[in-house]
Every structure is written in structure tokens, then in C-alpha cells.
């Protein structure tokens, strides 16, 4: 087919460009999977501890929302599928969709694809190549995980199902990325749309999993991440779930396949309407420009985090209910400080996840100047009287205050919903917004690191994303992997007080803020001294 001419060459080009990135994704995901598998197997070494886990965490709506159901606690593999399945699926999906937009829309946006498109390359070749490379990455991730688990001594069927499960989620989001790359004219929007789909997939299964018998548990079935859970690796695998994922991926890729021929090179399908002939009064300063460039992302994140907070908050009460239904546990908990304390522990742990997500936003916002620089849009602005520090500071405001807004939105969502259920909206909103905001200084440190790299070594800026993945793994799995204290201390989030519940001491927060400010200052100074472009 002439539309596919040159696909092979493009695949080779993509593999060459990603010769570091691809192996890093595969090795890291498989490595974390195996490490978590053996750690969780050791931690719950006895049959009793596993049974206890099954009755507590397995049936608890809060844990269900966060991690999904625990189908079989008798093997390490079964425990792993519960503890790591959802987050691992999230990361695989993230890798897949970013790979696809990177090789389709981003290339088109920069005009590089036009250069290639004029050579003997078919109209659909870039899409086909990007999808192939991403599918290959998913297959490698799945295979590496499966091999690792078999090597650990887990059952072959379960290991293969686990690997295929990750690969299937990755394939679906490969296809999602392929579609969003056709819809919008910029890679940024394409990634945002795909990210929104991923967030929705996470939330749908969170609600569905926590719903229980009477609730809308079917929601899980609407989510590709839910399909991983329903595949039930290590718990009488339901292989017939896999074709669902394959079918959806195929349908979406077909959609992208059709769309790519319907649109122009460089154009999107979402219509671009004519805008204002004159700039509004607000668009007249570096800050005004930053606001204009960042407000969409801020709004999207705030909304998403509000919903996430709401879903997490909705199941907080379940922690309590479960405890009162089990008199033995209730006694135990009462001695530990009452069921209220346990709800707080749950809320603190979900706010920890929220805090990590907010750091992703903070880094995105802090790195906007870098993407402006790469796109050659920094030059015209810096050729006006705007000072370099001013220009960056405008964006930094979003990484700091914007981050606080995003956190507050999550706290508000959780507080509203949880407050409604326990009949104390005012109190819970105030408490949870405050508790969410406590994570801001830690997110600022990550944003500060991004800015320091931007100022001192702009070529290393992509390392920020690796740092974020590392922080996610540390935060989610660090205690489980029994990492050394110093390793845990590397993460700024380790130093955040576990509120609500714990005492809030100002010292770590002040220190985190100081570190963040110092990193930002280093970045600003570095940027003032270096070449632009």
C-alpha cells in the first residue's frame, strides 16, 4: 500500500532516537515489578498474614479505590497484582501514549515530519511507525515482567497473564495516543487529551472497584486499567478479557487510520476558530503571557484533581464501616486510637498520592519556559525589555501557587464528599484542604529541581520525568521494598507530615520551602548567565 511506504525507515529512525528511552522504560518497569513482587511476598510471608490482608485490605472500599481488588492472596504473584497492578498499568500507559505523540504529532508540529513527508513516505507511514514502535515497547515491557516473575518462581500462567495485562493496557493507550494525535494540532494538547483519558480510566475503575455489590461496579469494565484487574493474573486467569483490550486498541487505531487521511499535514480535526483581533488588557506583560499559556493546563489539572479527591473521599467512610463489622478488629483499632484515626491514616495516604500527582503538574508548569525556548518563542519575548528572571518567574508562579491551587482542589473534592457522608462539610473541607496543602512544599522542591536543570543544564531537563517516576515508586513502594532510610529521605515527600492525623510541625515544611527556593534561585541565576536558544 502506497500510504505505508517508508514505514520501515521511520521505525528504524524512531528506534534510533529512542535507543536510551525505550530500554530505560522496559528495564525500570520490569525491575520495579520483580522487586515489588519479592518484597510483598516476604512481607506477607505467612499464611495467616495473607489471610488477614485478604479480609482487611481486600474488602475495604478505600483500598479498593486506591489499588483495586485482591483476588488471591495465597501467592506472591497474587499480592503483586493487587499492590502494583494499577500503578504499573498507569506507568505503562503513560510510556505508550507519550511514545506515540512523540513520534507523530510532535514531529509534525516542529515541521520535521514535513521534511520527511516530502520524501518517499506514505501518508500513513508515520502513524504506522509510531504505533509499531509503541506496540513493540509494550510487548517488551510485558515480556520482561513475565520473564522476571517466572524467574522469581511464580506460576507461568499467572506471570504470562500479568505481562500480557500490562502490554494490553499499553496497547490501548498506544491507540488512544494515536487518536488524540490526530485530533489536536499540538503535541501538548494531544498529550493532555490522552492524559485525560488515562485519568478517566483510573477513576472509573476506582469508583467501580469501591462500589461493592450494590454499587455501580460495572464501571470497572469501562476502564482498560480495570481490564487488567479483571484479567486476574495469579487468580484463575480470565483470558477472555484480553480480546476486549485488543479489540478496543484495534478499533482506536482504525479510527486514527481513517482520521489521518481526512486531515492536512500539520492540521488537527478539532476546529480552530478565528479569535480576537486585539489582545485583552491582561495580555501585556510576561505574567499575562504566562497566564494565557498556562491557564488551560491549570484548569484541567484542578478539575481532574477535584474529581480524584472526590472519588477518594467517597470511600473514606468505608474504612470505618468495615472496622465496625469486624468486632475483633474494632477492638484492636480502638486500642490504637479509634476508627477515626484509621480513616485519617487512609486520608493521609491518599493525599500522599495526590501530592505526588501535583508534583507532575508543578514540573510541567516549571518547564514551560524550556518548551518555549525550544519552540523559538522565547526569543521574541526576551528581545523586548522583559528581563529573563521576570519571564521565568511568571511561569514559576504557576509551579508554586498553581500547584497549591491544584492541591486545594483535591482537598476540596475529598472534603466535600467525605464531609457530606459524615455530615460535617465545613469541618472536613477545612481539614482536608489544609492537609492537601501541606504537600505543596515537597512538590515545589521537585519544580525547583526542574528549574535548576533548566538554568544550569537545559539539555538534561528531560531527566525531571525520570525523577518523578522515581518519586512515585519511592512513595508507593518504598516502605514495602524496605529501602534504607537515606534512600527514602531523598524524596521530599518523605518529609511531609502525614496529615490528617499526625502532628503538623512547621520545621520540615520550612526546610522544604528553603530547599525549593534555593534550587529555584540557582536555576534563575544559571539562566541569567547562559545562552538562550
Amino acid at each position: 500500500m502506497s500510504a505505508l511506504v517508508g514505514t520501515g525507515a521511520l521505525i528504524r529512525l524512531a528506534l534510533r532516537r529512542d535507543r536510551v528511552l525505550l530500554p530505560v522504560w522496559v528495564v525500570c518497569l520490569a525491575g520495579v515489578t520483580v522487586a515489588t513482587g519479592s518484597a510483598v511476598g516476604e512481607l506477607y510471608g505467612t499464611a495467616e498474614s495473607r489471610a488477614l490482608l485478604a479480609t482487611t485490605a481486600g474488602g475495604n472500599p478505600a483500598f479498593l479505590a486506591l489499588l483495586g481488588p485482591l483476588h488471591d492472596s495465597t501467592t506472591a504473584g497474587g499480592l503483586l497484582a493487587w499492590r502494583w497492578g494499577v500503578f504499573g498499568s498507569l506507568l505503562t500507559a503513560l510510556a505508550a501514549m507519550s511514545l506515540v505523540t512523540r513520534h507523530t504529532r510532535a514531529e509534525e508540529e516542529t515541521g520535521r515530519l514535513e521534511l520527511l513527508g516530502a520524501t518517499a513516505i506514505g501518508r500513513r507511514a508515520p502513524l504506522a511507525a509510531a504505533v509499531s514502535v509503541s506496540a513493540l515497547a509494550c510487548a517488551l515491557i510485558g515480556a520482561a515482567c513475565a520473564l522476571g516473575l517466572v524467574g522469581m518462581g511464580e506460576g507461568v500462567a499467572g506471570s504470562v497473564a500479568f505481562g500480557l495485562g500490562f502490554a494490553a493496557v499499553g496497547l490501548v493507550f498506544t491507540a488512544v495516543g494515536a487518536v488524540t494525535a490526530q485530533l489536536s494540532a499540538t503535541a501538548r494538547t494531544a498529550n493532555a487529551l490522552a492524559g485525560g483519558a488515562l485519568g478517566a480510566a483510573y477513576l472509573l475503575r476506582a469508583v467501580g472497584d469501591a462500589a461493592g455489590e450494590r454499587g455501580p461496579s460495572w464501571l470497572t469494565w469501562l476502564s482498560p486499567i480495570g481490564w487488567f484487574e479483571q484479567l486476574r493474573p495469579f487468580a484463575q486467569e480470565r483470558w477472555w478479557v484480553l480480546p476486549l483490550a485488543l479489540g478496543l486498541a484495534l478499533a482506536l487505531v482504525t479510527g486514527a487510520w481513517v482520521l489521518v487521511a481526512r486531515r492536512d499535514l500539520g492540521g488537527g480535526l478539532l476546529p480552530t476558530r478565528p479569535g480576537a483581533a486585539r489582545a485583552p488588557r491582561s495580555l501585556g506583560s510576561a505574567l499575562g503571557l504566562a497566564w494565557r499559556l498556562q491557564r488551560g493546563m491549570l484548569l484541567g489539572w484542578a478539575l481532574g484533581m477535584f474529581v480524584l479527591g472526590g472519588v477518594y473521599g467517597a470511600v473514606a467512610r468505608g474504612v470505618e464501616e468495615m472496622l465496625t463489622s469486624n468486632p475483633l478488629l474494632a477492638q484492636l483499632i480502638a486500642r490504637m486510637g479509634g476508627s477515626g484515626a484509621l480513616v485519617d491514616v487512609y486520608l493521609a495516604s491518599i493525599l500522599g498520592v495526590v501530592g505526588l500527582f501535583s508534583a507532575v503538574y508543578a514540573v510541567q508548569a516549571a518547564l514551560r519556559p524550556r518548551s518555549e525556548e525550544i519552540a523559538l518563542r522565547a526569543e521574541p519575548v526576551l528581545a523586548t525589555p522583559v528581563r529573563r528572571t521576570r519571564w521565568v518567574a511568571g511561569h514559576l508562579l504557576f509551579a508554586t501557587i498553581g500547584n497549591a491551587v491544584v492541591l486545594a482542589a483535591a482537598g476540596l473534592g475529598a472534603g466535600l464528599v467525605h464531609g457530606l457522608r459524615v455530615g460535617d462539610v465545613g469541618g472536613q473541607v477545612a481539614r482536608l484542604v489544609g492537609a492537601a496543602l501541606v504537600h505543596a512544599p515537597a512538590a515545589w522542591v521537585v519544580a525547583g529541581l526542574a528549574l535548576a536543570l533548566f538554568g544550569l543544564a537545559p539539555k538534561l531537563v528531560p531527566a525531571c520525568w525520570a525523577v518523578l517516576v522515581l518519586l512515585l515508586v519511592l512513595g508507593q513502594l518504598g516502605p514495602l521494598l524496605q529501602l534504607d532510610r537515606w534512600a527514602m529521605d531523598l524524596s521530599p515527600f518523605t518529609h511531609v507530615p502525614e496529615v490528617p492525623g499526625a502532628e503538623v510541625s512547621a520545621t520540615p515544611l520550612v526546610w522544604l520551602t528553603v530547599v525549593a527556593a534555593a534550587l529555584a534561585a540557582v536555576g534563575l541565576l544559571g539562566f541569567r548567565r547562559r545562552d538562550v536558544g
Partner: protein, 300 residues
């Protein structure tokens, strides 16, 4: 009067590549100065140093009486810049970009903005990517021309413009002549010839020639072809005559402009039936500078 721009011995390295290798450039206040050189000669790099975007590794640069790196923000109030690669924000309209850049520079003349939009036939309501290359260029041009500044720094401002818009651009620069200083980097020789008071030609990061076009012309040759009554005598021996071809009574040769008089004398002696003389075209002039010199070492 101090020159608007004076650069001497400017050096800029990008890792192992030496982009500027002792470049000199003087732009007098009020003149339109052409900045020429082959691809990769260092024009855009010089301009970026002047804008304080790049930090020079050696030499000195002064612009509008200040230091381009140290006093960047203050100097930028007094200049406008059109980059070589215009990249617009995907979610901002052309009109918004023009207003934004103008306001950042400290305000722009509304009447002039409206007039320029009309003359360039630019629709200000489209968003970034919806503009063609030429129209993106127009957005940057209108933004620069509409602001009230002393110095315009234009890096290949007409690349991608159609001939009609090109003519409008020339008119605009012509109208501003004397009121503003213009540094115009360009590959379009006709444009340079039409607009520039003086030009600097650079190559491999060094200045190879600078002066008015008349001065540069003086260094070049006029080509002459003539139909004579009789075969010429003594033409070949004259100083300054090159590439003489004689076919019967037809002659063709090139002569250094300084020796034109003697050569014509020799033709008249043989009886002139028809004569065409062509002053050196700028193309020839530039090609000589672009091509003939040994390439300056670009790598240390």
C-alpha cells in the same frame, strides 16, 4: 555621532565550532545597513549577541550606547526585532501577538498598527498555526514596524513573502529612512540594493567587506561588448582589461571600473558601431565575496 552599533573582534564559540571569529560591524545612526553572507556565516549569531540572547566569548560590542549583554532590558525598550524563524503561539491570534510584543516593548502606535495590518493585508484574527509561513512573517513584521523604536533588527525579514508584500515592506523601510536605524540581514540582493545605504559582507564569522554599494562597485568590473568597424588594437595590453574575446570585429571583455576610460578610448579608435556595457551586478559582486576567498577555518 556615535554609531548605533559597533562591534569589533567579536568571537562566539558553540562547543568546538567557532561561529564568530573576530567579526567587525559598524552601523551608523540613521542608516539602513545590509548584513550579508552565505548560509552559516554567522549573521543570526551576531544578531543574537546584539540582543543579549547569546554571550560573546571575546571582542567588544556596543549598541545604542550600551552593553548588549549587561543592559539588555534597557536597550530592548529602544529596538524591535524580527527573528529569522518566526514561531507563533498556537493559541494566540496574530493580533494578540502584535499587541503583546508591542506592550512588552512599552506600547505601540494604534494608528500605525491599523495601517500596517491593512497594507500587509494581514488577518489578525487567525491563530498561530493557521497562518502560512509568509503570514507568520507578516505578524512579526507588523509587530516590529508598529512600535516606536530607534533601531530595527531584521533577520531575513522578507523570506517567504510574496513580491507584493515584499514591495510593501520596502516602502515601509523607505518611509522610515533617516528616522530609524535598520540592520537588515538578507539573501535578497535586489532588496539590499534597493534599501541599504551601506552593507557588510561576512563569511566564516569574519567581515570581508564593508562600505556603500558605490564603494563596493568601484572594486568590481564592468563588462563590455562592442561591434567595431575594424578589429581593435592594443586592447589586450591595457591594464585592467580581463577576459578579452575577439571574434572578427566583435569584442567582449571585462574591465576594472577604474580603467574604463582607457579601454573605451581604444574602442573608439577602432570605430564603434554598437556598444553595450553592463555595470557589475550585485550578484557578481557578492558571489565573488561568497565564493572566491579561501574558507576561514570554522573549527578550532
Amino acid at each position: 555621532m556615535t554609531p548605533a552599533i559597533s562591534v569589533s573582534g567579536l568571537i562566539k564559540d558553540f562547543g568546538p565550532t567557532r561561529a564568530l571569529d573576530g567579526l567587525d560591524l559598524t552601523v551608523r545612526t540613521g542608516e539602513v545597513h545590509g548584513f550579508l553572507g552565505p548560509n552559516g556565516a554567522g549573521k543570526s549569531t551576531t544578531i543574537r549577541v546584539l540582543l543579549g540572547l547569546l554571550r560573546a566569548d571575546g571582542g567588544s560590542a556596543r549598541m545604542l550606547g550600551g552593553d548588549p549583554w549587561r543592559d539588555a532590558a534597557a536597550l530592548h525598550r529602544r529596538l524591535a526585532y524580527v527573528p529569522g524563524d518566526v514561531s507563533l503561539w498556537p493559541n494566540l491570534t496574530g493580533g494578540e501577538v502584535i499587541d503583546l510584543l508591542g506592550r512588552l516593548r512599552g506600547g505601540l502606535d494604534q494608528k500605525r498598527r491599523a495601517r500596517l495590518l491593512e497594507r500587509f493585508e494581514l488577518d489578525p484574527r487567525k491563530k498561530g498555526r493557521a497562518y502560512s509561513k509568509g503570514n507568520r512573517q507578516k505578524v512579526a513584521l507588523v509587530a516590529a514596524l508598529a512600535s516606536d523604536v530607534e533601531l530595527l533588527i531584521l533577520d531575513e525579514p522578507t523570506s517567504g513573502l510574496d513580491p507584493l508584500v515584499d514591495a510593501v515592506f520596502r516602502e515601509c523601510v523607505e518611509e522610515e529612512r533617516g528616522r530609524r536605524t535598520v540592520l537588515l540581514s538578507s539573501h535578497v540582493l535586489a532588496e539590499v540594493e534597493a534599501l541599504c545605504d551601506r552593507v557588510s559582507i561576512i563569511r566564516g564569522g569574519r567581515t570581508v567587506e564593508t562600505g556603500t554599494l558605490a564603494e563596493l562597485r568601484h572594486l568590481t568590473r564592468t563588462s563590455v561588448t562592442a561591434e567595431l568597424a575594424a578589429p581593435p588594437t592594443g586592447l589586450a595590453e591595457l591594464p585592467g582589461v580581463h577576459g578579452l574575446e575577439v571574434r572578427g570585429t566583435r569584442v567582449a571583455f571585462e574591465v576594472d571600473t577604474g580603467h574604463l576610460d582607457a579601454a573605451l578610448g581604444a574602442l573608439v579608435g577602432a570605430g564603434v558601431r554598437a556598444l553595450t556595457s553592463r555595470p557589475p551586478t550585485l550578484e557578481e559582486l557578492f558571489l565573488r565575496h561568497y565564493r572566491d576567498q579561501p574558507p576561514v577555518a570554522a573549527t578550532r
